[in-house]
Structures are given as structure tokens and as C-alpha cells.
Subunit: 202 residues, 2 copies
């Protein structure tokens, strides 16, 4: 049994959970709750960066971050399932994942601004800078949403997690001006039951 250090609301963890489910590996992974704000030393021994997701393999070794874990799970499932082997599809999927991870990183910096700083120390120009990254990335995605494949690739999974996180943390404001992405996410959710199952409790 592998162990996934997780928390229910982490969007990078959600990528891993959806990947594991799609690949039929979810029952080989036990979830362990992790507090990244005040991490215990045992967790910091597993990942010096103090970040989730962190996957602990059966031999006790660890893997992180989410991109490395989803590639490892794809490997365990035989390879080429959610991470295409054919170069054109592979780099399109990896590029889309990078774009959506970038949305998540920008949004997390906005969330952390509220979580770690006292109100008078929050800096609007920084928040605006991060939001502009998400706004531009969403405009690009709205102009040409990625095709959905029979088995979702890591890029599609990352996009679903990015949109889900914008719903969770920024009240779904993206929905108003991105109708094609709203439809895209509905279609993704209909094809990938793990998306609904991994929704963070509110």
C-alpha cells in the first residue's frame, strides 16, 4: 500500500487523486491527512519542502511533486495512459499541465496572501500581478479549449483541477466570462467520475 500525504482542498493533490482513479490505482493508495501550515517533523522528513502531494512508496521512499507523482502512477499502470508516449500529444499534454499548474500557483499565492499575512500586510499590486496570470491563461483556454480524449491526459486533469480550485477559492468568478470552459468542465466531469468524488468539502 502506498501512502499519499494529502489535504482535502489541495488542487495539486486532486490531480494525483484523479490520476490514480482514472488509472485504476486508487485502492492501492491510502490517504494521510497533512497540515502544511504547521507540519509535523515526520512529514518534513518525507518532503523537506513541506508540500503536498507527497507519495510514500511501499519501500518507504518518497516522490513529489504532483507532476512527478502522476508520471509515476502512469508508469505503474503500464505507461502512456494519461501521459501520452507519442511526442506531439505528450508535449501538448505537458504544456497544458504547465499552463494550468501556473494558474494554480498564481491562485495559491493569492490564497496565501490572505492566509499568512495580517490584513495590513496584504499587497494589492502583488495580488493583481498573480490574478493577471490567471486571467490571461483563462483567455487563451477559452479561445480554444483542449479536446477531451477517451482517457483524460495530465493536461486535461490539471485544467479540471485549476477550474475546480477557482470555484473553491475565488467563488467561481471565472464562470461568467468563460462559457466554453464551463461547458468543457461539465463534459470533463461527466466523463471522469473522480472529479466529483474529489471535490473539496465546503
Amino acid at each position: 500500500m502506498m501512502i499519499l500525504r494529502h489535504s482535502p482542498a489541495s488542487p495539486f493533490v486532486r490531480k494525483v487523486k484523479i490520476a490514480a482513479d482514472v488509472l485504476g490505482l486508487a485502492d492501492q493508495i491510502k490517504l494521510e491527512d497533512t497540515d502544511t501550515i504547521a507540519p509535523e517533523s515526520g512529514f518534513l522528513d518525507q518532503n523537506a519542502l513541506g508540500k503536498i502531494p507527497t507519495l510514500i512508496l511501499e519501500d518507504g521512499s518518497t516522490l513529489f511533486d504532483s507532476r512527478v507523482i502522476v508520471e509515476y502512477l502512469d508508469h505503474l499502470a503500464g505507461g502512456g495512459r494519461i501521459l501520452p508516449k507519442e511526442p506531439k500529444a505528450r508535449f501538448a499534454a505537458l504544456r497544458l499541465q504547465a499552463l494550468c499548474d501556473g494558474i494554480l500557483e498564481a491562485t495559491l499565492l493569492i490564497v496565501y496572501e490572505g492566509r499568512f499575512r495580517t490584513p495590513e500586510m496584504r499587497f494589492q499590486a502583488w495580488l493583481d500581478r498573480q490574478q493577471s496570470k490567471t486571467d490571461r491563461a483563462l483567455a487563451v483556454l477559452e479561445a480554444a479549449p483542449p479536446a477531451l480524449t477517451e482517457t483524460p491526459d495530465v493536461g486535461q486533469i490539471a485544467l479540471a483541477c485549476a477550474l475546480g480550485y477557482l470555484d473553491l477559492r475565488l467563488a467561481g468568478a471565472w464562470r461568467k466570462n468563460h462559457p466554453k470552459l464551463v461547458t468543457w468542465l461539465d463534459q470533463f466531469a461527466a466523463r471522469v467520475p473522480a472529479f466529483a468524488r474529489t471535490k473539496a468539502p465546503t
Copy 2:
């Protein structure tokens, strides 16, 4: 000819430059200076996230971020050169790259705190939180520096770039308490001439 959107001090760009040099692809890549603080719209059309490195391929399509680009360059060079195909070595290299990218991300957040905020808006608890990630990661690496291979893998390249960036931005304070990593970096630099050639001008 491919184009790499770059700036001379970016540690993530340096990963790509070293990878290209090691793979014999440097003469196929033209560098284009990029201001990420006040990016021009042309660059934002290439990468909505406004981040470097961004690689523009000969067909005009773009790739990012550094991890995706180094994998692409490895693919162009035949595959399995800096990103091993054998699973154990591959995931060790990817994990090391993730750890060192984590050091870089934490250090960049410290640098950005100085670059984007007015002095009274800098928040010590946040800086300490980021520094603690680097400190723990360096302790793990000092305890067991990774073996150097004939051709450096993406993990080793990322570690060299992380230590080089700590030299550039945090005055090499890491050197005092990490003698094995100092030796490791000297050995890496002796094997990989691109490391010296890609040093940021001071």
C-alpha cells in the same frame, strides 16, 4: 532556429541553457531578452503566465515551463540523455529536480518580496517560511549529495542551478554549513563547462 525567451539571471532559464549545451543543441537556440517585470504583449502571447523560460519552436508554437522544455530538448537529442528512460533512475532524477525547483521557488519568493513590495510591506514570517524550505532541502542534500553521472541528468542540472542561484541572490550563505555540496558543485562545474558559461553577470 528555436528562440528561448530568457533573462541572464533566471535560474530556471539556466537549467534550459545547460541542458541545451550538454545535449549539443545550443547552436539551434537563439536567445531573446525578456523583461518579466513589465512584459511586452508579444511575450504574453507566447506565454500567458508571463514566465521564462519559454521556448518558441520553428513552427511558432511555444513550450514552457523549464521541466517541459528540458524534456523536449532531451527528446530532440534522441531521448534518455539527461532524462533517463530506466524507471528507477528516471524517477530519482525527476524527484531531485522537483526538490531543487522547490528550493528555487522558495528563494524566488524571497527575492520577489524585495522586488515587488515596498519595505514596510515585507513580511518576515513569510520570508522565514520560504527560507526554512531551502534550509531543510539543503540539509537533506548535504547528508547525501547525488552521484554525478557522465552526462548530468535533469536533477543534477537543477541542483547546480539552485546552488548557483543561492550564490547570486543570497550571497552564498549556504556554503558555510554545506561542505559536501560545495565540493559537489565544484565537481559538477568541472564536468559541465556550460555551468560557468551560464553564470549570471554580476
